[in-house]
């Protein structure tokens, strides 16, 4: 037994024991030196820093990108705005301070207290909590002169959006306003009181426009006074944008539509760039930036003319006879010969229903071209019953109807192209033969936006490319599709539009020095009132909300410059008479006054 006894075998490793000793000495030596360095060697320096100064970080607001029109005129700029911030670590008595702010700003104490209670959870230590985002100059002066008695209060200067053109571009640009709870929650880079885009391009291009905040390091003393500062990360300004909009044309259209509800779109058919984008009535976007009062907001929201509604993309209307261009295209594609004549007696009977032409006594024998220029309803009733809903809908959708145009604006509507399937889902009923007839003249369920019409006319003119409309200048055209027409078929439709201006329903647009084409439309608002046997009343005799919507879709070409212009006047009556003068004005602006 004793032979197995091995003293070395039980002893701890000698190297290990030496290592432990060395580690203890090493630890001791290292930290003695470090403590000495920090507390004795550099002690005075750190003590000085701690005694009087503190390092704080402050975010620097980045200016939002500027927006110009296609000619460089500024349409969205930044102005300095003065906000009142509270740094709660520096405030001695929050209640008293809020009381004082209420006195200075006429904001009631309860509102301030609520804002404080909500905001204090969101701000980092030593970050100003924005209590009043916008101070008047008098308020700034009053607060600045008393600032010494109220430590922890700070006037924060931030860039604020200003729209020099007011209501002129509200539907294009949208506006910025204070970020709400939800937006703050979603985006950690936002702080309380920050503005974000809420509508229009300001909303959809928010990321490009916003830029990135910078960071500044401040040295402050015990009362929060600033001693020195240095910028650690400069703010990055948002990207500047150039719109495709021509501000002068925009202003002219805006003026022409004044007092009515409607929309005008002018577009370059080869680039998709929108030159004028007008929705009337409009509103002043600056109201939202500074904040609307409750009653102001209610007034705007409850206005029967709906000024907040963007009629170019957010409203979809029955297209009326403008849709005959689409149905005509569908007819050609489906083998209808342009030379075939249809007899119009002024009405067609289908079952118990009588479908009337707008021309009471009929157009007589009429071919494809005449039917379009005269906008004969009976010809199209015939096309409707021949083609049926499936072929018409399919063609219309390939032409871009029923889908959003994807112009970068929020809440765009795609309109509606009815199908059998859709009707069954929507009403639980099958498609009726008579509905084909209504569909063919653009009545019934069909809904289109003015911008969709412009895109379609643009495709007719540019060789068939369905381009994505854009509000920004200088980009590459984006193709979304192609018209399913041969060149000859397309040109026939274009010719019919020119004829319509030459001798049809759009004669008002006629110019000797330019090629103009157009198609009018009158979309019945109240179908039931115009049943068989009902006498058409004069426009003035009808109540406003029962009057028809007036459409005019057109293009014009002069000296190699081509434009598409579409006008829609809600309850404006007949397309030619209501919308014609306005588009005439548009072409006068684009091509000059006719000699």
């Amino acid at each position: 037994m004793a032979a197995q006894f091995e003293p070395e075998g039980q002893a701890p490793p000698r190297f290990g024991l030496f290592l432990l000793q060395a580690l203890i000495w090493g630890l001791f030596g290292l930290f003695v030196l470090r403590f000495w360095y920090l507390q004795v060697h550099k002690g005075e320096e750190f003590a000085q820093k701690a005694r009087d100064n503190q390092l704080r970080q402050e975010l620097l607001h980045a200016p939002r990108g500027l927006i110009r029109d296609r000619n460089g005129v500024l349409v969205a700029v930044n102005q300095p705005a003065y906000a009142l911030g509270l740094i709660r670590e520096d405030v001695r008595d929050v209640k008293a301070t809020l009381d004082q702010i209420a006195v200075w700003t006429d904001i009631d104490l309860a509102t301030l207290e609520a804002k404080y209670a909500k905001g204090r959870r969101r701000v980092k230590p030593f970050e100003p909590l924005i209590l009043v985002p916008d101070l008047s100059f008098e308020q700034v002066a009053r607060i600045e002169s008393n600032a010494l008695f109220w430590p922890g209060l700070e006037i924060v200067v931030r860039p604020r959006r200003y729209y020099p053109q007011g209501p002129l571009l509200a539907h294009v640009l949208g506006y910025v306003a204070e970020a709400n709870e939800e937006e703050l929650e979603k985006d950690p880079t936002l702080s309380l009181g920050d503005n974000v885009g809420k509508g229009g391009l300001e909303f959809t291009l928010e990321e490009r426009l916003r830029g990135a905040k910078g960071l500044r390091q401040l040295e402050v003393d015990a009362t929060g006074r600033r001693l020195s500062q240095h910028v650690m990360r400069p703010p990055r300004a948002g990207e500047d944008l150039r719109l495709s909009i021509d501000l002068e044309l925009q202003a002219r259209c805006h003026e022409m539509l004044e007092g009515q509800a409607g929309a005008i779109v002018v577009m370059e058919p080869f680039s998709g760039e929108v030159v004028a984008f007008v929705s009337q009535p409009s509103y002043d976007a600056n109201w939202f930036v500074t904040g609307l009062s409750g009653p102001q907001w209610e007034k705007l929201r409850d206005d029967p003319m709906h000024p907040l509604q963007n009629r170019v993309v957010q409203s979809a209307y029955p297209p009326g006879s403008v849709f005959k261009l689409v149905v005509g295209g569908a007819a050609l594609v489906n083998g209808v010969s342009p030379s075939e004549r249809v007899y119009c007696s002024g009405q067609v009977k289908l079952g118990r229903h009588i479908f009337r032409c707008w021309k009471k006594h009929g157009h007589g024998h009429i071919d494809f071209l005449q039917a379009l220029t005269q906008s004969c309803d009976v010809y199209y009733y015939e096309m409707g019953s021949r083609l049926g809903v499936d072929k018409i809908s399919e063609f219309a959708m390939t032409c871009g109807f029923g889908h959003k145009t994807d112009i970068s604006l929020p809440h765009e509507k795609g309109g509606l192209i009815p199908t059998r399937e859709w009707k069954r889902r929507r009403f639980g009923e099958s498609w009726q033969g008579g509905e084909n007839l209504n569909l063919a003249i653009g009545q019934g369920y069909t809904l289109v936006t003015p911008l969709q019409v412009a895109r379609f006319i643009g495709a007719l003119v540019n060789g068939g490319d369905i381009l994505r409309p854009t509000l920004l200048a200088g980009g590459e055209p984006e193709r979304q599709g192609h018209l399913p027409l041969t060149d000859a078929q397309r040109q026939l439709l274009v010719r019919s539009m020119v004829e319509t201006v030459e001798q049809g329903t759009a004669r008002r647009l006629k110019r000797r020095d330019a090629v103009i084409g157009g198609k009018t439309g009158t979309a019945q608002v109240v179908r039931l009132k115009l049943k068989a046997g009902d006498v058409r009343r004069k426009l003035e005799e009808m109540p406003y909300e029962e009057r028809d919507h007036a459409w005019l879709a057109s293009f014009g070409e002069k000296d190699g410059k081509t434009y598409v212009a579409v006008c829609m006047v809600e309850h404006g009556g007949h397309g030619g008479s209501a919308a014609g003068p306005m588009l005439k004005g548009v072409y006068e602006h684009l091509f000059g006054k006719q000699k």
């Binding site: 006894f5 432990l20 000793q21 920090l38 507390q39 550099k42 701690a50």
Partner: protein, 371 residues
């Protein structure tokens, strides 16, 4: 079980007990100071120090428990306990409670168990058991065997994610390996291999962990995050100067400039209030404390006991080194607490229990070796 012998009780290492009590006392006192923070309406105290005191009482219970039985029984317990630990760690991702975005705790009803704390003890036991066998320095095969045993629990802990505890486990085992010694022909290639392999671990780190390391290299990089901690903790410590600002008078810590002042950055509060002199006192306490553990390893009657003491040595050594190094701006910010000074329930109980284990080894140093 060997019955408690009066002679054994006579050999209790009272110096180690005294040093432990002193360190724990300094810790509670410091937490009392760190608990105060300014509200808009006056000073208010968080009951951290009270809780810490209660944890301490529990820990002393653990300490006594770990003293009573003959530590040699742990040799047989090491393997089963290791397996239980692995099981617990595997349970964490499945049943674990999420606190602060990490899944580290098992809810046992009456308290939240942090299996990574248990892992520290079982790694210590299995490490001591494996490494105390044989006397020659480790060759490649043995080294890999030991590392393989450590990698599994460490990996599971790091995935929780808890880099601090995972590293502790690995470092504890690494320390034991060094204590045993490595053959020269293994050691030399390792000296080349480790610096080559270490950067590769970068790809396994979480983004926030990478950020901390980058921030350490350039604190200006992240002045609102981890860089802020480094800058502020150095200001707090440095401003304590030679004599300190006095108990409860640290302006940096009292005015909330200092973040996490009751946990990982607790020593910054101490440094500010007690100055260089105080820090030297505390540092000396820690070194004497480590020295007592060293003596236990030196005097142990068998290699297993010696390795147990050495393991506890490394357990404390690494924590002190990393935590102080981090707060003093010598190392990246890794969430490792300072023993006895930082607030933490599980850690306090484990720390004191481990001291119990060392006392256990220490007081049986004269028991006759069995032939």
């Amino acid at each position: 079980m060997t019955p408690i012998d009066r002679r054994i009780l006579l050999h209790i290492n009272w110096s180690l007990v005294g040093l432990t009590l002193l360190l724990f006392g300094v810790g509670v006192m410091n937490l009392y100071s760190a608990s105060g923070f300014r509200l808009e309406d006056g000073l208010s105290l968080n009951p951290f120090y009270k809780k810490q005191f209660l944890w301490g009482l529990m820990g002393f219970g653990g300490m006594i428990t770990f003293m009573l039985f003959d530590y040699r029984h742990l040799k047989t317990l090491a393997v089963p306990m290791f397996l239980v630990t692995l099981l617990l760690l595997l349970c964490v991702p499945v049943f674990g409670k999420v606190i602060y975005g990490a899944r580290r705790w098992l809810d046992l009803g009456f308290f939240n168990l942090q299996p990574s704390e248990v892992a520290k003890i079982s790694i210590l036991l299995i490490g001591a058991k494996l490494l105390s066998k044989g006397q020659r320095p480790l060759d490649w095969l043995q080294l890999f065997g030991v590392l393989a045993v450590g990698m599994v629990p460490a990996g599971l802990i790091i995935l929780q994610p808890d880099l601090g505890s995972g590293l502790s486990v690995l470092l504890l085992l690494g320390g034991l390996v060094l204590y045993r010694g490595i053959q020269m022909r293994v050691f030399k290639p390792l000296m080349i291999l480790v610096p080559v392999l270490l950067p590769m671990s970068w790809f396994f780190l979480h983004d926030y962990q990478k950020r901390r390391i980058l921030t350490f290299l350039d604190p200006g990089n992240d002045p609102l995050g981890a860089g802020y901690h480094i800058i502020q903790s150095q200001i707090a410590i440095g401003s304590g100067r030679l004599w300190g600002k006095g108990f409860l008078s640290g302006t940096q810590s009292q005015l909330r400039f200092l973040p996490e002042k009751h946990t990982d950055f607790a020593i910054a509060v101490f440094g500010e209030e007690w100055g260089f002199i105080g820090c030297m006192f505390l540092l000396s306490l820690f070194c004497l404390f480590l020295y007592q553990i060293y003596l236990t390893a030196h005097d142990a009657k068998d290699r297993f006991g010696s390795f147990l003491a050495a393991g506890v040595f490394f357990y404390f050594f690494w924590q002190i080194l990393i935590n102080m190094g981090m707060v003093l701006g010598l190392m990246p910010v890794v969430g490792i607490p300072l023993p006895f000074i930082s607030y933490g329930g599980s850690a306090t109980v484990v720390n004191l229990s481990l001291i119990g284990l060392v006392l256990n080894v220490s007081m049986r140093r004269f028991v006759f070796k069995r032939a």
